[in-house]
């Protein structure tokens, strides 16, 4: 606890620019030109020495991407200039399994972000993606011995082609939406995880995604398969330097949770405010399985992300816990989806959004109960906290219920920080900013209490940073 407390205190007063917003010189093994084309797709596939089916999959996906119109709902995406983006950067020739083997600038970056230290203290495995490639990867030896696979997606494809081919693009089809199509065309990096039956990984596996170059496009691709009675907690974090022009991050995450398995996927998204973050995440849960998305969105210019769970087997359970924090110039269009396609399935969606300094944060959700999903239970709770008059919160809770024997609950609240509450805290010596930060961290506590201590501390610290100088 002592170090935790010190860390929180140290975090206050520093800012994004110093802690995360720095960049280091580019000295890359390969950097593509700007813009998107079939030639680029070929170049990526060749660099990775991929099987022909993947090359074809990419080309077809690019066609889908080009054919589809931009989404007209959600956030304003008109600022994205697809021709100005670098789609593929390979920073190093080879992946390292020792931090010391990385080029100095890249190693320094990870040190500054505290990843090697976190690995030593509380992680079972780490993948560190820098631009387009996972430059460092390591899994604890005892887990490897139990048959756990934790690789970057490219290595996963090379070393476990059959398993990858069986699932890749089946949970999120390549033409699911425009940005899933883009990812399917130019994907690089991300994680491939397989947890064998009955294996429970007690400490989290973590992936960290770092953008360094200006106008970078990062398109990691993650596939997680949790076999029967197995358990894994996967955590991802992401940051980028502050640039005056935009970058693009568009990931696809597919998850399969087999009977009685459990997967928890935690995201602490802290992109700099010039990143468009457009991500498709979907999981399927079979009989008696549990899927949990814990989704914290603090950074980025625009985020559109609605982690989904398809409850395909009887008694499958899904949870989405989502926090969105929108400050100046930010639009967080976050939410969650639960689709009940089997009897006695249950889901809980809890969304907490905070907006300040003209930011816009919202909940967009879909709850669907199919015919025959008798005994389905679902609860959706969306709470919004608006910190000032210029800021905005939206709630779009869509529901499609095609079965009668169900139990569905929905609650939504919108609140503002009250003068009385602030005065009460300030009368105990807290500054106005400290008081507001305390009210906000209390507001998100239902989500942070679900996180391992280290991440709860991190999230609270990020919220403190967001709150610095924001009130009064």
């Amino acid at each position: 606890m002592a170090s935790t407390e010190t860390e929180i205190v140290q975090g206050i007063g520093s800012d994004y620019e110093v802690k995360y917003g720095f960049s280091v010189p580019e000295d890359y093994f390969f950097k593509s030109g700007r813009g998107l084309s079939h030639e680029l797709v070929d170049a990526i596939s060749s660099h990775k020495d991929e099987p022909d089916w993947m090359r074809k999959f990419r080309h077809k996906s690019l066609d889908y991407f080009l054919a589809r119109p931009m989404p007209r709902w959600g956030a304003d995406l008109s600022g994205i200039d697809f021709e100005n983006i670098y789609y593929y950067i390979r920073p190093t020739e080879k992946q390292a399994d020792k931090w010391e083997d990385l080029p100095a600038d890249i190693k320094d970056t990870w040190d500054k972000l505290g990843i090697p230290e976190a690995e030593k203290k509380y992680l079972a495995g780490v993948g560190a993606q820098y631009e387009s490639e996972v430059v460092y990867h390591k899994l604890q030896a005892d887990l490897e011995a139990k048959g756990v696979i934790f690789l970057d997606m490219d290595s996963g494809l090379r070393e476990h082609e059959d398993l990858v081919r069986q699932y890749f693009g089946t949970i999120i089809p390549q033409n699911d939406n425009k940005f899933a199509a883009l990812n399917s065309a130019v994907w690089s990096g991300g994680s491939f995880i397989y947890v064998p039956p009955g294996v429970r990984i007690e400490m989290p596996l973590q992936a960290y995604f770092r953008i360094n170059a200006e106008n970078m496009g990062q398109f990691e691709r993650t596939l997680i398969i949790v076999d029967e009675d197995a358990y894994v907690h996967y955590v991802e974090g992401c940051t980028a330097p502050i640039y005056s022009s935009d970058s693009l991050h568009s990931a696809v995450v597919e998850i399969v949770v087999k009977p009685r398995g459990r997967c928890r996927y935690t995201t602490i998204q802290n992109w700099s405010n010039n990143v468009y973050n457009l991500v498709t995440k979907r999981a399927v849960a079979y009989e008696g399985a549990t899927m949990e998305w814990v989704d914290g969105n603090l950074g980025s210019k625009v985020t559109m992300k609605y982690p989904a769970i398809w409850l395909l087997g009887e008694r499958a359970h899904g949870e989405v816990l989502s926090i969105a924090f929108a400050g100046k110039g930010q639009h967080q269009d976050a939410g969650g989806k639960a689709v009940h396609a089997a009897p006695n399935t249950s889901s809980v969606i809890t969304s907490k959004s905070i907006s300040k300094n003209g930011g816009r944060a919202g909940y967009r959700g879909l709850l669907e109960v199919g015919k025959g999903a008798k005994g389905a239970r679902s609860k959706v709770v969306c709470d919004a906290l608006i910190l000032d008059e210029e800021s905005r919160s939206d709630t779009y809770p869509y529901m499609r219920i095609d079965e009668n024997e169900v139990d569905i609950g929905h609650e939504a609240t919108v609140s503002k920080i009250g003068e009385e509450q602030l005065f009460y805290l300030m009368s105990r010596g807290l500054s106005e900013a400290e008081a507001a930060a305390m009210i906000v961290s209390g507001f998100v506590e239902p989500v942070t209490k679900e996180l391992p201590l280290e991440y709860a501390v991190e999230l609270n610290r990020l919220i403190q940073l967001q709150m610095e100088g924001s009130v009064g």
């Binding site: 205190v9 003068e419 300030m426 009368s427």
Partner: protein
């Protein structure tokens, strides 16, 4: 020079309505002052204004703490200088435990005292102080991990207010109707907690409608407060007289309607 001085203090609401109409008062350490007044006399407004509530504007006079004019200071700056208000209706702060809140408050005050440099209390020291204070004030241990005032009974809220006072060690404590909502046992504990802290380090200003709490906290001075003014001063015998004769005896003829404001 007294520790807390109110000189001809006038307080108005945002719409300009004057509620406190010229109050002079001196409170020192090792003293308990009681302000007694009927409902609607402006007692709570006076308490809020002393603590710096933004909805109440000081329209005349001044508040001095240790000789420093604090009339224009924010609530947090007043708290950092040693002023404390036990609320009549403490607010709930969902998601924030009593423990976390207490630690943050202590650290905020320590930071101010260290000239703006972080000087957090050690976990061990905090824990020792907190447990000791909770036991002394008979605050159930489980309250420490509950969210501040959320779902608390009236008695629990008041005890936690006094717990905060004990932990923050103010120099002047203002207690606004602390007796309301307390049964006799709770009142005895709460009053005992206040009485214990009054001494060379702290003075108290007890604001109350009834004389009941004064059976447990012995006032050195009693001030009768009617229609925004102190209309009589005396010792504890004055509280007794109030109890017997009621406030009517202290209302100057013609001003009962407050028409002169």
């Amino acid at each position: 020079m007294a520790l807390l001085e109110l000189n001809d203090l006038h307080v108005a609401l945002e719409d300009g309505t004057e509620i406190v109409k010229g109050v002079d008062l001196r409170v020192d350490t090792d003293e308990v002052h009681a302000i007694m007044g009927p409902n609607g006399s402006g007692k709570s407004t006076l308490a809020y204004a002393l603590m710096g509530h933004p909805a109440y504007e000081v329209t005349g006079g001044q508040i001095l703490l240790d000789g420093e004019d604090i009339t224009e200071l924010e609530a947090d700056e007043r708290a950092q200088r040693g002023l404390f208000l036990a609320f009549q209706y403490p607010h709930a702060v969902p998601g924030v435990t009593v423990t976390n809140f207490m630690r943050q408050a202590i650290n905020s005050i320590r930071k101010a005292k260290a000239g703006g440099v972080d000087d957090p209390i050690s976990v061990k020291e905090f824990r020792t102080q907190m447990l000791e204070a909770m036991d002394r004030l008979k605050v159930p241990r489980e309250l420490a991990q509950r969210y501040l005032n959320e779902g608390f009974s009236g008695g629990e809220k008041k005890r936690v207010e006094i717990l905060q006072m004990a932990m923050l060690r103010p120099r002047i404590a203002i207690l606004d109707e602390t007796d309301s909502g307390l049964d006799i046992d709770a009142l005895r504990i709460v009053a005992g907690g206040v009485q214990e802290l009054v001494g060379p380090e702290m003075g108290a200003l007890v604001i109350t409608h009834y004389q009941r709490i004064l059976n447990y906290i012995q006032p050195d001075f009693v001030h009768v407060f009617v229609d925004g003014r102190i209309v009589a001063d005396g010792g504890k015998e004055l509280a007794q007289r109030l109890e017997e004769e009621g406030y009517e005896a202290f209302v100057p003829s013609g001003s009962a309607t407050g028409g002169e404001a």
